[in-house]
Symmetry: C2
Subunit: 132 residues, 2 copies
């Protein structure tokens, strides 16, 4: 249990707090650079990793495999509806789905069930932008 509060970690957390949407480690690094906070890329990765382990941030994989990070409002288990264009995110929960998932898995004799349930789409703003 490390977790020393350093300038760099503080910067990463603050950046996450200000950005509402899912961002990649590299985007965050770029953001920090742009605002003058000098933080190494490796450090950004390490900070995000630590935060993810502590459940301080949510991680999900973009369709191309890149990991995206976000500081979610709710700490409890939930899922996301993410705009694949701008990263805009809506937190959703689905008790129905949770129940369905564990029932199905148990029926097949599987243990240690985890599920990946994410919704991707185009948000209203991005649709308007591309249609306009």
């Amino acid at each position: 249990m490390a977790a020393r509060m350093t300038r760099q970690r503080t910067a990463v957390v603050e950046a996450l707090d200000e950005l509402a949407d899912f961002r990649s480690a590299q985007q965050l690094h770029e953001t920090l650079r742009a605002r003058g906070e000098s933080v190494g890329l490796a450090t950004v990765y390490r900070a995000l990793q630590a935060l993810a382990e502590a459940s301080e941030v949510d991680v999900l994989r973009a369709e191309d495999g890149e990991s995206l990070y976000r500081r979610c409002a709710r700490r409890e288990h939930h899922h996301h509806l993410v705009c694949r264009h701008c990263g805009r995110t809506v937190e959703i929960d689905g008790p129905t789905v949770e129940a369905w998932a564990s029932k199905v898995a148990a029926a097949q004799g599987f243990d240690d069930i985890e599920h990946t349930i994410e919704l991707w789409g185009t948000c209203a703003d991005c649709r308007a932008a591309s249609a306009g």
Copy 2:
């Protein structure tokens, strides 16, 4: 629309037909090598890519980001319950979940919805094996 049927592509398809579980491109390459079919790794990737585009194989991302491929029995939309240890796969469908997903997305004004719903677990055999 290419799709010339070559020795290599045939070999990849046959290997997939014999393997019931999700496999990575590298695993397939290794399998082919082992049985004496000489096929380049790049070719395996290309064949899998073409098959995936033609919806001949299903692709999903392992938890570590690696792509896994499988020739599924049903061509229609469905999901999977996959053993994270041996790749053993059960095809599942969830009309409930489909309905839920599109309802939620529409309620938020999102378009072009796609969803990722996969279940990961430890199958009975792998549990028995690790339990001794």
